[in-house]
Symmetry: C2
DNA sequence: AAGAATTGTGATTCACAATTCACATTTTAC
DNA sequence: GTAAAATGTGAATTGTGAATCACAATTCTT
């Protein structure tokens, strides 16, 4: 019994998504050609019609992740024009995203990134720094409208924003998903805000 | 030509250290029995005289990492009694430690932790939460002496402390060790301090 | 110094996963 | 409709790395 023939473009999407899902379930180590193929409903060797190698699949997964992050930023921008609110919203959305996709931290910290295909690490750096840049842009506009203080470097404020997210992701993962994200968001945000906002705002709860 | 015979206790230490070094160089994926054995100067099969399996070696490495973290805390405590200074010192020491040992984030985020031996994840959780607990203790004493504000939960302040460290570690690794740790420490610390200190201190620079 | 326990060695087994290839089937182009 | 291109299949190849085992050398005990 043979799988239906699908155009490469769509198969590539299926394969990339299946790979992402598989990483969610079993980590980067658990990612195998056979596993991906099974999920897509084709035979392992068929996968090579659409990707030249496993490494190529990994690169596609990285692209997908970068895409998702950018989508997040775009969504937040379109939701509200107020910089501090954009940041808070991005915070909640990003944490929610991480709750559903462990694949993201797994990829970012994966050996495959650091010791696999040369250039892979640069690719991940690209994704992270691009994301960071977006955050910096938001912060910069907050500086312009006077809502964010000037004596914290935008770069630092942006890195600290990541610092709001990363530990939460780790603790959530390592604790067997028992870490209370909601509480973390509720308590950490005001503290972060205090460290970067021009003055303690009253309405931003 | 045969390697000298060494008592198991010491071989275990050699092996654990070699494994840690190997992870530093090649990641958890690059950790192989053969690689460890080569570094120690014995033959792969000889390793099984001292460890029952590769998993057992991994557990030993985890213990070693937990040990190092605790040592760090102890050192800081002995250096100064002022909570905020303890935190800052811990921050600098921890970042320095991460610069030298990529193995630590690699292990913490490794698939081997999440998808390997069941219970391994709990072990990592144990290490992290113990460390977090120490930080909370420091913060609690800062609350008692009035140097740290009461309206931030100690747990949150502790998690945010990790948030000072983790992004730095990632950016440093992903950027090919080009991220400027020193600048990060210098700019991020005051911001963090502002978010948890009772009032902007003047001497704590 | 003899026997037991410990530690080291080399060959080998086993499982697993990526990749290739010759061939089959379906889709597309003309 | 027919040839060519695209896609899918199953078998075979190859490499890798963990683990086992029988045997050798060393150290410890007494």
């Amino acid at each position: 019994m043979s799988a239906p023939k699908i155009q490469t473009r769509q198969r590539q999407e299926q394969i990339t998504q299946a790979a992402l899902d598989l990483i969610n379930d079993s980590g980067v180590t658990g990612l195998s050609i056979a596993g991906i193929a099974r999920r897509v409903g084709i035979v392992p060797s068929a996968l090579y019609r659409h990707f030249s190698s496993k490494d190529a699949v990994l690169d596609a997964v990285l692209d997908l992740i970068g895409q998702r992050l950018q989508d997040n930023v775009a969504h937040v921008r379109q939701k509200t024009p107020v910089p501090l609110q954009q940041l808070k919203l991005l915070f909640t959305r990003h944490t929610a995203m991480l709750s559903e996709n462990r694949a993201i931290p797994h990829m970012v910290f994966s050996d495959a990134v650091y010791y696999g295909q040369p250039g892979r690490r640069a690719r991940v750096a690209q994704i992270i720094f691009t994301y960071l840049k977006e955050i910096e842009t938001i912060i910069a506009s907050g500086r312009q409208d006077g809502s964010i203080r000037m004596d914290v470097a935008t770069a630092t404020a942006a890195v600290m924003f990541l610092g709001l997210i990363m530990p939460a992701a780790i603790l959530w993962n390592v604790s067997g998903e028992n870490f209370d994200m909601a509480t973390h968001i509720k308590t950490a945000w005001p503290a972060y805000e205090r460290s970067i906002a021009a003055q303690t705002p009253k309405e931003a709860l």
